[in-house]
């Protein structure tokens, strides 16, 4: 009986001993972490530009290739995205000024309002994938755990939207523990259905910031549909003011 009690106590104490380091460990400041994740992709007073190539794979169809040049000016919440390929859509483009995103339709000569969630040329890539995020303002961390992805230790964060004006109600984020770099992101619907998985295996240091140079998007609904985004010529060279105007979008359109 003594041994039984001793063993029971020992097992509980032993278990608690193992628990102590976990319960006692400092919980990371996730608000700060999300702000750092947001900041890492922001260029402040410097402009940013680059050429994105988007390869979309749909089972049973030929791969579609879209190439677009992005001009960003974060200090005034502006971006311009110009389609370069395919040739037939060359010149179509998006313009964000403040909180508004316009798509210029060269056929109707009209500027149509759209959203950051709008897909780029029908691919799984969205405008928001190419511009800075706002995770720290739009989401809060509801749960977390430690994990490992490939060679990297990661925090796996469960995010929940704080309002209704977001594209996804829930996001799961894999962030490196040694620096606030996102490796993986999962977007969920309000019902908990996985809609998209985004992977960020390559980055570039540009202007002191980290920019994904390779993004893989896996469609969570349509099996086998994938989109790969690669970035070339990332730059923080100054961009003329005239680029961030409707007029520029009209001029480049065909």
């Amino acid at each position: 009986m003594f041994f039984h009690r001793t063993a029971r106590r020992a097992s509980v104490v032993l278990g608690l001993l193992f628990l102590v380091p976990v319960l006692g460990a400092d919980t990371p400041d996730f608000d700060t972490m999300l702000r750092e994740v947001d900041q890492l992709g922001q260029f402040g007073d410097r402009d940013f530009s680059g050429v994105y190539t988007i390869v979309s794979q749909v089972p049973g169809q030929d791969d579609s290739v879209t190439q677009a040049r992005l001009f960003r000016r974060d200090r005034s919440d502006q971006f311009v995205l110009i389609i370069l390929q395919p040739q037939i859509q060359r010149g179509q483009g998006y313009l964000q000024t403040g909180d508004t995103v316009y798509f210029y339709d060269p056929e109707s000569r009209r500027f149509e309002r759209t959203t950051l969630r709008d897909s780029i040329q029908g691919t799984d890539a969205q405008n928001r994938d190419l511009v800075r995020g706002n995770l720290s303002q739009d989401y809060r961390v509801t749960d977390w755990e430690l994990g490992r992805l490939g060679s990297f230790d990661t925090y796996i964060l469960d995010l929940e939207a704080t309002g209704t004006g977001v594209d996804y109600d829930r996001i799961r984020l894999w962030v490196r523990t040694d620096r606030p770099v996102v490796l993986r992101e999962e977007n969920y619907s309000v019902s908990g259905r996985l809609l998209r998985t985004l992977l960020f295996p390559r980055y570039a240091n540009v202007g002191g910031q980290a920019v994904p140079t390779q993004i893989l998007i896996v469609d969570g609904i349509n099996d086998g549909e994938r989109t790969q985004i690669t970035l070339r010529d990332p730059s923080v060279a100054p961009i003329p003011d005239g680029v961030f105007t409707r007029d520029y979008l009209e001029r480049v359109s065909r």
Partner: protein, 549 residues
């Protein structure tokens, strides 16, 4: 030696396991060999070295504003349309249709784009349309519009006192209406310049566009009362269709997120002083775009214009307001008591004529559902008639206006062939202003209109799509509804079937247009109009080989 019984050992094991799981949250990740993405992150150094000062404008090949060669592009339009119309399905049933047609449509748009330097560009767009003879089904907005061909009926309508036709063989020079033989002649080819303009600028500060080009002016999706610059208006049934612009010079100065435009529009056959002037300021205020504009042309009503557009949730909400001084239309009025003639036509060159519209639109790719278009719009047409009948008369304004137009047209057509052609005019004075087809065109007669359009394509990943369009004149409560579905066989072959049900009392705007053409007594002060009920039409259209190149 300590020995443990089974339950104690079990407790110890669970405690150890729990601790391990909590200590290493990635336990499952560490040993989850099924994670297909882990291999993407095996490289310890995931950062690439780049030239962060790369000039994106250094290589002309990368600059979308410059092109070594003139780029030609275009699209082919091919379709085969079949239409059947039943004018009185309620009485005669839907046996043999009253009208049937088979209409091929072949066309192409060709566009060239030359960009020899960053500050100079020339663009031209040409439309080629080949059309065969065919009968257009009188349904929808096209169906309710009366045109020159309707004057062909005058030959049978003009009768003497004995009821015998004045011109039994048709009007002199009237269109030949013998269409017994099936159409099979050579198709008609139409070639037109849709756009042709040059872009140039001064020091990247002031941007000019001169030539024939579509002007982006209003914000309405189905109606745009603010757009007085373009030559054609939005077709509510095809709101994404082409809108043809005039020859104009646009001067644009961006300032911040805002834009100042000045349009100088060149009218046809005009003196220099007839140049139309239209300044416009577009302000971006948060999520709202506010436009303030004006329009002036000598001898035409000047206008002040406000436009507003902003996003509200998933919807794009827009509004236009127009205030014009005077109207370009000719109006029909009733004279008092037993006056002869009983009506008069008048111009209203003075007075304020407001117009306004407000609407919404949602265009979205809804995951698992399809591509959705949902839009609705209300139009206040201050130039329209407040009621659909005139005091003391049973006929509608449109019936009397149509009879007056026919009388005036007959008098004009017969001038020189009969001694007193003015005797053909009995509803109004021969000295009154002349009515034009534009005075009774669709969307002009009523004061209040509303339209709704919705479409869902690629439903749940399939090749099916559905559409519903409806429009109503809330002054005479006529309208029509057009549901349809489509099936995409391939990207180059699409079948669509639509039906159109027109409703409204005889003589109202969207009712059977035949109820507005006098069936008897055209030359009297009491013309008789047929009393037919709503018509139904069915249209099948197969698009063949359409696509861009």
């Amino acid at each position: 030696m300590i020995t443990l019984n089974a339950s104690a050992a079990k407790l110890l094991f669970i405690g150890l396991l729990l601790s391990c799981v909590l200590l290493t949250g990635a336990w499952a990740q560490d040993f989850d060999e099924d994670d297909p993405f882990a291999s993407l992150f095996e490289d310890d150094d995931m950062f690439d070295d780049v030239d962060e000062d790369f000039d994106p404008f250094a290589d002309p090949a990368d600059d979308p504003l410059v092109s070594d060669a003139v780029v030609w592009s275009g699209r082919f339009l091919g379709s085969l349309g079949a239409a059947w119309t039943w004018l009185d399905p309620w009485g005669e049933g839907v046996g043999e249709p009253d009208a049937a047609s088979l209409t091929p449509g072949v066309g192409a748009d060709l566009r060239f784009d030359a960009r020899p330097s960053r500050d100079y560009r020339v663009l031209g767009s040409f439309q080629i349309r080949a059309s065969a003879d065919g009968t257009t089904a009188p349904a929808g907005l096209d169906g309710i519009a009366l045109g020159e061909n309707d004057l062909a009926a005058l030959g049978e309508l003009l009768v003497n006192g004995d009821g015998d036709p004045l011109f039994p063989g048709g009007l002199p020079d009237a269109p030949d209406t013998d269409d017994d033989a099936p159409a099979g002649g050579s198709p008609t080819i139409e070639l037109s310049v849709f756009e042709l303009f040059a872009d140039f600028n001064w020091d990247e500060r002031v941007f000019f566009r001169f030539g024939k080009h579509t002007i982006s002016w209003g914000v309405g999706f189905l109606f745009s009362p603010a757009d007085v610059l373009n030559l054609t208006a939005i077709d509510p049934q095809n709101p994404d269709g082409d809108i043809e612009g005039p020859v104009s010079l646009r001067t644009r100065i961006p300032f911040g997120s805002n834009t100042a435009n000045l349009y100088l529009v060149v009218p046809d056959n005009a003196e220099p002083r007839d140049l139309a002037i239209a300044p416009q300021l577009l302000f971006e205020i948060g999520e709202t775009e506010l436009g303030v504009a004006g329009w002036y042309q000598r001898r035409r009503p000047p206008r002040g214009i406000l436009t507003l557009r902003r996003g509200v949730g998933a919807f794009d909400v827009f509004a236009e307001g127009v205030l014009a001084w005077g109207s370009e239309r000719t109006y029909l009025e009733a004279r008092g008591g037993d006056d002869d003639p009983p009506f008069r036509t008048v111009r209203r060159d003075d007075g304020l004529f407001p117009g306004a519209t407000i609407g919404f639109r949602r265009l979205d790719d809804i995951e698992g559902l399809g591509n959705l278009l949902f839009a609705g719009q209300y139009l206040y047409n201050g130039e329209g008639y407040a009621t659909n009948t005139l005091p003391g008369r049973d006929e509608t304004v449109l019936q009397i206006a149509t009879a007056v137009l026919f009388q005036q047209a007959a008098a004009a057509a017969l001038a020189g062939t009969v001694p007193e052609p003015d005797d053909l005019i009995s509803l109004v004075s021969p000295d009154d202003p002349t009515l034009a087809f534009s005075d009774i065109a669709p969307l002009t007669a009523g004061r209040h209109y509303a339209a709704l359009t919705t479409g869902l394509t690629d439903i749940a990943g399939s090749r099916f799509g559905v559409t519903v369009f409806g429009i109503i004149n809330m002054t005479d409560w006529s309208g029509f509804v057009s549901p349809g579905f489509s099936y995409r066989f391939t990207d180059r072959m699409n079948l669509s079937a639509t039906t159109a049900l027109n409703f409204g009392r005889p003589g109202s705007e969207f009712a059977n247009p035949a109820t507005r053409i006098p069936s008897d007594g055209l030359l009297s002060t009491n013309p008789v109009f047929p009393d037919t009920r709503p018509i139904i039409s069915v249209n099948l259209s197969l698009s063949l080989g359409g696509g861009s190149f």
